[in-house]
Subunit: 143 residues, 2 copies
DNA sequence: TTAGGTGCAAATCCTTTGCAGCTCC
DNA sequence: GGAGCTGCAAAGGATTTGCACCTAA
């Protein structure tokens, strides 16, 4: 399914669906969580597929443009992505102690943001809400 | 006031309040909005104060740790900061066309986040909400 | 006095690019 | 056939660091 969407996205722009791009796409959609370019590259390299680091980066940018993948954070160590297709939009809580990422979604939160955008006559297209703090486990550990 | 707070922060860590650090601090608090390291460095250089690029970066990191300054975004072109002292917490809308940054605050939004944290038994300490899209002016321009 | 700071230039790190040969449509 | 790809290695750009010389406390 994802590949069909990507396919369409590419041909709309006169681009080609190559083996390498397929490898990147497949690998991403076989990962269930978040990933960074380097790990993605390594996991492709360790599989039976192939794609150079350059292609991984290039494809990742295309996937973000196509809307199939989202860049969720830019940290010191580079960008973190996740695939979007088949996922409802959601936000993240990030534990600063153990790095755990908790996903959550709130309809109410979405509505509120829409209202705020209207008030400011801002045409919002995407948003990122990141709540940092400590997860349940780390709170206990600190006591 | 800020300098007193910074002073205390530094001595608590056995660090010194140097001319260069003061220059960075002063310059930041004379800017009312957002800034990036390079512009900060240039504006210091053009004033009667001084500090090398290295000191600007080093001081910026200290200021973030002290809580006087916040890193609000990491973009392709580097980080963007703003000073926090004397500012109420707020979030940002960022125009992807012209780069304009609009600040907003919603008590309701804050409360909602608190509730969500409680639901997940997550101890939130800070958050960043970034809404991307187009500002009023850019919406017109596109028509 | 002396731990800590400074500027400079070199080093890092992630990401992008130029190029020559390859391949999808 | 040819526009668009690929991998490689080199280039980029923001930020950090090693070092020899300063300076706040």
């Amino acid at each position: 399914m994802e590949s069909k969407i990507f396919q369409e996205f590419l041909s709309r722009r006169g681009l080609k669906l190559t083996k390498e791009r397929m490898s990147v796409l497949r690998q991403i959609f076989s990962i269930h969580g978040h990933f960074d370019p380097e790990h993605l590259y390594l996991s492709i390299r360790d599989s039976d597929m192939k794609a150079s680091r350059a292609s991984v980066y290039r494809t990742l940018n295309l996937l973000v443009e196509s809307g199939l993948v989202e860049r969720i954070t830019r940290s010191d160590k580079g960008n973190v992505y996740e695939h979007t297709y088949g996922h409802r939009h959601h936000d993240h809580m990030i534990c600063t102690a153990c790095g755990e990422v908790i996903e959550f979604f709130s309809e109410h939160l979405e509505d509120l943001q829409k209202m705020i955008c209207e008030q400011h006559q801002f045409a919002g297209t995407t948003h990122t809400l990141e709540i940092r703090g400590n997860c349940k486990a780390c709170q206990k550990r600190k006591k």
